[in-house]
């Protein structure tokens, strides 16, 4: 059994990657609130499975893999039971605490989310890990357990699809 001190050590080591995990979750989710929720769920899963972590050097990739699975699970669940995010509802009068982007920017962001969401799953996860997670091709390959060449081809297709959709949108 691990002691409390050892658990704390593991927590610190994993928590160092919280922003990386959050960025990936943000790419897969609709907004920051959902991403935070997913990030917490991913960390809880990671702590519950801490005995599966064999090589501490690979903590980041291991954690990102868990985050990706958590996000894909959530997307799958939501497809079966569609939900509405509280953040997408109209803001109550007098709620000034939140710092949401301006309306035009928000609609553009929503459009990007929708365009990314329409991509095939494999292209989508490669694009999210790269553009939101900031991972290198090699790291994406490790996370998805595929070859770097495959990462590049998926990314290329995903970017082309999003850019094509942006052009279409610009013409409208």
């Amino acid at each position: 059994m691990n002691g409390a001190g050892e658990d704390d050590g593991l927590f610190e080591r994993l928590a160092a990657f919280r922003e990386d995990v959050f960025r990936v979750c943000l790419g897969f989710s609709r907004n920051a609130a959902d991403a935070e929720d997913l990030c917490q769920e991913a960390f809880l899963k990671a702590f519950a499975r801490k005995s599966d972590l064999r090589h501490p050097d690979g903590s980041r990739i291991w954690l990102l893999r868990i985050a990706r699975t958590t996000c894909l699970d959530r997307i799958r669940r939501e497809k079966r039971r569609p939900t509405v995010s509280l953040d997408s509802l109209p803001r109550p009068v007098g709620d000034e605490a939140r710092s949401d982007p301006p309306a035009g920017e928000e609609s553009a962001l929503n459009w990007i989310k929708a365009a990314v969401g329409r991509l095939p799953r494999r292209q989508r996860e490669a694009l999210v890990l790269r553009e939101y997670g900031g991972l290198s091709y090699e790291e994406i390959a490790l996370t998805l357990k595929i070859k770097p060449g495959t990462v590049m081809s998926r990314l290329h297709r995903a970017r082309r699809a999003v850019a094509g959709a942006a052009k279409e949108k610009g013409r409208e």
């Binding site: 935070e36 990030c39 990007i112 991972l135």
Partner: protein, 183 residues
């Protein structure tokens, strides 16, 4: 983003899309840092139940499944053995052999039937029919192959000797022989 990136750069997303994504990331991270995420995460992690290693679970599950399978095979074998040799019961081959005329039935044939027919079906009408057919075939074979009675051929002197010296069996044989015309 990385020193080891390939030189053949892939086409990037349009600049304005990248900017929007970066803004979204920045505002999300600001929210994360301000919201006391670490404290909540630490509390949640402390209360999270530790899960057993998946590999160990798989090994235990495989061992349990193997043990259950072996136990069920042994139980089945024991049951079959008890049914075939338990008190008050007999195997169907024994029953066959106890039938009249079955002692001479070809053993190899019996073994072949035994392997082809499950023990549980020993009492079935099919097997009774089979046994009757085997009995009939055996009787027919026995009748067809009755060896001719070996009757000694006596000389006239011997015959007279038998008749005169009062040897009843030998005398009877001599009379039969003379009636059947074999002598």
């Amino acid at each position: 983003m990385n020193k080891n990136e390939p030189r053949t750069a892939l086409p990037e997303l349009p600049g304005e899309i990248r900017e929007l994504i970066q803004k979204e990331i920045d505002s999300g991270l600001a929210r994360l840092r301000a919201g006391g995420f670490d404290a909540r995460l630490k509390a949640a992690a402390r209360s999270a139940p530790a899960r057993r290693p998946a590999l160990l679970l798989r090994r235990r599950w495989a061992a349990a499944a193997g043990a259950a399978m072996i136990a069920s095979v042994l139980a089945l074998a024991g049951l079959l053995f008890y049914r075939s040799s338990g008190p008050g019961s007999s195997s169907w081959t024994d029953a066959f052999e106890s039938l009249p005329g079955m002692q001479t039935l070809n053993r190899a044939l019996l073994d072949r039937i035994a392997s082809a027919v499950p023990t549980a079906a020993a009492e079935s009408p099919f097997l009774r029919l089979l046994a009757a057919a085997a009995v009939a075939a055996d009787k027919e074979r026995q009748e067809a192959s009755v060896p001719p009675v070996l009757v000694p051929k006596y000389s006239l002197k011997k015959k007279l000797d038998i008749l005169l010296n009062d040897q009843p069996i030998e005398r009877a044989l001599a009379i039969i022989k003379s009636k059947s015309g074999e002598v």
